[in-house]
Symmetry: C2
Subunit: 329 residues, 2 copies
């Protein structure tokens, strides 16, 4: 029987249990993977804590991203066969389809081929990060070479994806990180400028880096009091994407600054992309082309065995990582 | 010497003083009006209190909208002559060009002809309200007949303009007002539904009025705690325009709702329209066509003489008015 990760109560990483559960068969429109690697996301930590957009029905599976080999297909699936090497795209309910385990069932549209030259660990590290950053910056933000982009929490996998996408467009990538220890890493990862927010004034540094104009695209998963500083660092007419809720503090809408500058502040998740067939198709095409050209290249911080899934979650919550945390199955 | 309204300190309506000041001549690019009527705006109350986007340099003039006859033109002006009947468009610094008084000087591009069949009081009641509502709903919001629009503070001149513009597009206009006393007035003004927020639950009523879908365009000058309710009443992908700051309470950004629904919450002022030549031209054309067809028709609540300018401000602050307050000079 395959080992599957579930939790019976929300809370710390301790709630994650590895259980042997009977093998199940894919239903209509579903496929089953023999999982080789699992890419971890902050969304799963939030879900485990009961703080995510979707609430778990306990006991609950979890997990959005796995790479593996298709070992069963349900009726009504297309373009996918047993033996295919695929990775999963977060286009489903995590509670219903969570992929943490040796076996995972997902809707067939959420299982995509990934380039042959990528390892399974890399295959499990592409969709969430690149689709999320692509959707905001390119599809909605219409990123162009003259743009200045502020990327907060830049050492996260999505942050690094945003740096790569910004540089691929020829735009200016301004990365922020709390401590000085990740500064050189972010410069090496392609950031044009890195602001260490524990030591430097974000607004002043963004203005200095943009000839006083401010950034016209801002990509932020933090929220909370940071939003006011980001609004101050924005140029007139700028768009601020809020794509997470990492800050536990209330997020104040910077009303006067937003009025004065005509700022667009929008909530954003990749579901706006994967839930729209045309956008989804363009997004996949963009990611395939970027991986092919080398403009996009997933950064893996470290790997854990499945048995250490709770340690892997604890490590993510420590915020030490620089890139993707992957579980090898 | 013409009577001019100025204030020497920010504060209550008592600070407004009527002074006789020497006649001045228009400089390069400016024209002078013999003022016949002045349209009052909330912006002037905020400016008088020192709470507006622009801070006054004391002593300061104030006022955005006047109708009158051109009685002097400076060099470098075009398409405008002495004797023309014009009204002023808020496309200038209120502190520098404030129009409250018997004589006003404004940049020539801010003086526009208005239809012959409108009185001076009506001429002073068109630009702020229609350009503000048009810019948000039509130019940016791309208003279509299938849209559902929530209009808060709907009895204000801009709110009524938004109702007329929404109905002209064939869309659903849901107006909100605090007390039941203005409900019939708003229905008569064209609102499809009126929500009395002192007595009714805004979210429930908007959902009931939109078959559970929510409103996809929301036009709000209030901010503060209301924004959370408006986000709850919004449909997925909706745009919420915040175009004022009437609430003294902090405005919380509804982060989780914005993420779940992909909401766009943006600061907006008509300066986004009048500061862009193409948008400005389209906006004026829209207003002229609407006044011509009768789709747009300014609603005047009451008139005051210039001597009672402080009373007119007090009356605006009492929130009793239904439409525009005009000072006849």
């Amino acid at each position: 029987m395959p080992k599957i990760v579930r939790f019976y109560e929300t809370g710390s990483a301790d709630v994650l249990k590895i259980e042997e559960l009977p093998q199940t068969e894919p239903a209509e429109g579903e496929v089953r993977l023999k999982v080789e690697a699992i890419g971890l996301n902050r969304a799963e930590v939030m879900f485990r804590k009961g703080q995510y957009l979707e609430a778990p029905e306990l006991p609950s599976r979890l997990g959005y991203e796995a790479a593996g080999i298709v070992d069963a297909v349900g009726p009504g699936t297309r373009d996918i066969d047993i033996g295919n090497r695929v990775s999963t795209i977060p286009a489903f309910s995590m509670g219903k389809y969570g992929v943490y385990g040796e076996s995972a069932i997902v809707p067939y549209q959420a299982a995509a081929h990934y380039p042959d030259n990528l390892s399974a660990a890399e295959g499990a590290s592409i969709w969430m990060q690149y689709l999320t950053a692509y959707g905001a910056l390119v599809e909605i933000g219409q990123l162009k070479d003259r743009d200045s982009v502020v990327i907060t929490a830049a050492s996260s996998s999505v942050g690094l994806a945003a740096i790569q996408i910004t540089k691929a467009a020829g735009a200016l990538a301004i990365a922020t990180t709390r401590g000085a220890d990740k500064k050189q890493f972010l410069l090496d990862a392609g950031a044009d400028r890195v602001i260490v927010t524990d030591d430097e004034d974000l607004v002043e540094k963004v203005m200095a880096g943009t000839s006083g104009k401010g950034a016209n695209l801002i990509f932020d998963p933090v929220g909370g009091p940071l939003l006011e500083a980001l609004a101050d660092a924005a140029s007139p007419g700028a768009t601020i994407f809020e794509y997470g809720a990492l800050s536990p503090a209330p997020t104040i809408f910077p009303l006067l600054t937003a009025l004065q500058k005509g700022l667009i502040i929008r909530g954003y998740t990749l579901f706006e992309i994967v839930g729209d067939a045309k956008r989804f198709a363009r997004a996949k095409q963009y990611v395939y082309a970027g991986l092919e050209s080398g403009a996009l290249s997933p950064v893996i911080d470290s790997t854990f065995p499945l048995e250490a899934i709770a340690d892997a979650h604890r490590y993510m919550e420590s915020n030490q990582q620089k890139g993707k945390i992957v579980v090898i199955v």
